[in-house]
Symmetry: C2
Subunit: 162 residues, 2 copies
């Protein structure tokens, strides 16, 4: 019973990740390049910056979960370490959309195969010693946090819709 409960709760969290990504995917496909290049509100981040930011953060999850190297290591400097309008050259909107799909598809392929033990194992940014004391610093928690991050910025990017 408890094993089933654990699997069920992990599936609920995975469903939340997938449904937020489905909504986000539909949103960025619906928005035109010109819309995504606009500010989400006056003086605020553009859609393109936020899209690149989400890709950079999710791409970094591949590393953090020990799955593979980042696909787009150059995004970290442009979309995490630098603010919008930094003068750094952005990839095109088409490239950003493709990067989002590539990263998300790779994550989902792994997520759908993870066992309960893998979900609850430590991520790569915590030591064995710290993890023994703080077992919540596991892979599932990283995904929960990234789902909220996506939802937060989706609330902003949606302002680009007419």
């Amino acid at each position: 019973m408890s094993t089933h409960q654990t699997e069920r709760i992990i599936k609920m969290n995975l469903n939340a990740w997938e449904s937020q990504n489905k909504r986000f995917s539909e949103l960025i496909e619906k928005l035109t390049d010109a819309q995504l290049l606009s500010e989400t509100a006056p003086g605020r981040n553009t859609g393109a910056y936020l899209l690149g930011h989400i890709v950079a953060v999710n791409d970094d999850m591949l590393r953090l979960l020990g799955l593979r190297d980042k696909f787009f290591p150059e995004y970290t400097e442009i979309f995490i370490k630098s603010p919008d309008k930094s003068g750094k050259t952005f990839p095109s909107v088409a490239e950003l959309r493709a990067a989002y799909h590539k990263t998300t598809n790779e994550l989902n392929a792994h997520f759908n195969k993870f066992s309960t033990e893998e979900w609850l194992s430590k991520h790569t940014a915590v030591s064995e010693e710290d993890f023994a004391k703080e077992p919540m610093r596991n892979k599932l928690n990283v995904m929960i946090s990234r789902t909220l991050h996506l939802s937060n910025h989706m609330g902003q990017i949606i302002y680009l819709k007419n």
Copy 2:
């Protein structure tokens, strides 16, 4: 081991709810009444509407989880069934902040006492028959969904900050 795993994952989800609410609470305390009465972006929802909307949705969780009647049943008409600028009279910003704290504190008092079985039991909007087929329609799933809802609108209300 599995029992511990289940409890750990529920706690991770509860921590996510609590940390989003802590951030939100700090945000609405920091914003002035005038800021909250402004549009989050030109032509978009005001902070006051979104705050009332969050209270209405979370207050409804009390009913949906079978805990008690809504504290603010009148908010449903103003902040869920009607759009912003409907002409309906809003409570003052001070009342909205107080309503947010009252609802959140009540939810948290219950959440901190819920057993695993209570979290995984059905919410009041699903029949026993449907729940037997769809066991994910449980109380924990409602909280996960409301945490994402809060995060989504918090991304918008944060645009009221200078």
